[in-house]
Symmetry: C2
Subunit: 209 residues, 2 copies
């Protein structure tokens, strides 16, 4: 049985992954927790502690092999495999997410874009046509959909999420400004942009004092 890893640690992993990727691009072969800590502005102790939740990836007197550690963190995060994503809601944000090439580089492939608005039907966003929501059941049946990004008004979010789960999608990347807890058997990751903006606003006010 695996020990439960805290979300505090998980939140930091993508950042390690990013820095290691950059080091890799720069041709750096090895790095010590101390050097990495200086670049990332965190403590070396935290880095070692975090990594050791998953195993001993380093070596005394040497440090960490960049390529190896990068790959291991990739495995932990599950970004070495491909994940198929559909986007529900083809408004501005939905189109932006659907058109975001970057995600594919880390294993996330957008394979469908859906909306209720008939005016959008067939509209091309990058190489994807907007499909109508009633095509969803068939689409999910015929494609291996792992994640649904919800970029729709909050009034429809809960019902759509329930529908998705009943169709077999068990991971939701939620941009709607509503909480989707109390849906069983689904993994939710929220991106609440307004909340983020309000935090910024708070910190501005504090900063001025």
């Amino acid at each position: 049985m695996d020990k439960q890893i805290s979300q505090a640690v998980i939140r930091r992993l993508p950042r390690y992954y990013r820095y290691l990727g950059e080091l890799l691009d720069d041709g750096v072969e090895r790095i010590s927790s101390n050097d990495l800590s200086k670049r990332m502005h965190v403590t070396a102790s935290q880095i070692r502690q975090d990594l050791n939740n998953f195993g001993g990836f380093g070596q005394q007197g040497y440090g960490y092999n960049v390529a190896y550690l990068h790959d291991e963190i990739g495995k932990i995060l599950g970004v070495n495999d491909t994940h198929n994503v559909i986007v529900i809601g083809a408004g501005n944000l939905g189109q932006a997410i659907a058109g975001y090439v970057k995600f594919e580089r880390v294993g996330f492939k957008i394979i469908g874009l859906f909306d209720v608005n008939p005016e959008l039907k067939g509209k091309m966003v990058r190489d994807l046509p907007v499909k109508m929501l009633d095509e969803l059941p068939d689409f999910i049946k015929n494609n291996d959909v792992e994640i649904a990004a919800l970029t729709l008004p909050k009034s429809n979010a809960k019902a759509t999420a329930l529908k998705l789960v009943s169709l077999g999608v068990h991971a939701i990347w939620n941009f709607a400004h509503v909480d989707l807890d109390d849906i069983p058997d689904v993994v939710i990751e929220n991106v609440h942009l307004s909340d983020s903006l309000m935090q910024l606003s708070y910190n501005i006010t504090q900063h001025k004092k």
Copy 2:
């Protein structure tokens, strides 16, 4: 001198604000920490503890007045005033942010949209024309710009941020996939979408076990 409030608390304030707004819309006049805790799936103790960082907003035997508390949290977050925002980078994401009406309801007004690409010059996004980056200094001089949203490739993000700060913008809402720490005298709020997606990916993997 104010006691420093932890970011853990600040992160929860927008959520309280949202729930209180909904209660307000529903015509609910008062609520106890206990009732609110059930709706929000947090402990009542946490709610009381969080609020008491900022003052005693409730009353024994009565609870909290919804309208009053909503307004007070609004003040704390600084969303009762208007904040002018410019968006740097008029790609998909930049256009989505610039076109997002919702933000205005919580006091954030998008007043400018900038890019380097001459092909986009003058293109209308909602009621805003895309301006070129070299118009930025004048624009900032003539408008009260408080926040800049950075929706541009990471290669340009750092330099642009430095420029913005030198022009007098001291708050950055950063969507670029890069860290902008070590810039002095600026408040940064990061929205790293890839990171969020990777967290989701990790949690999917865990869920399957």
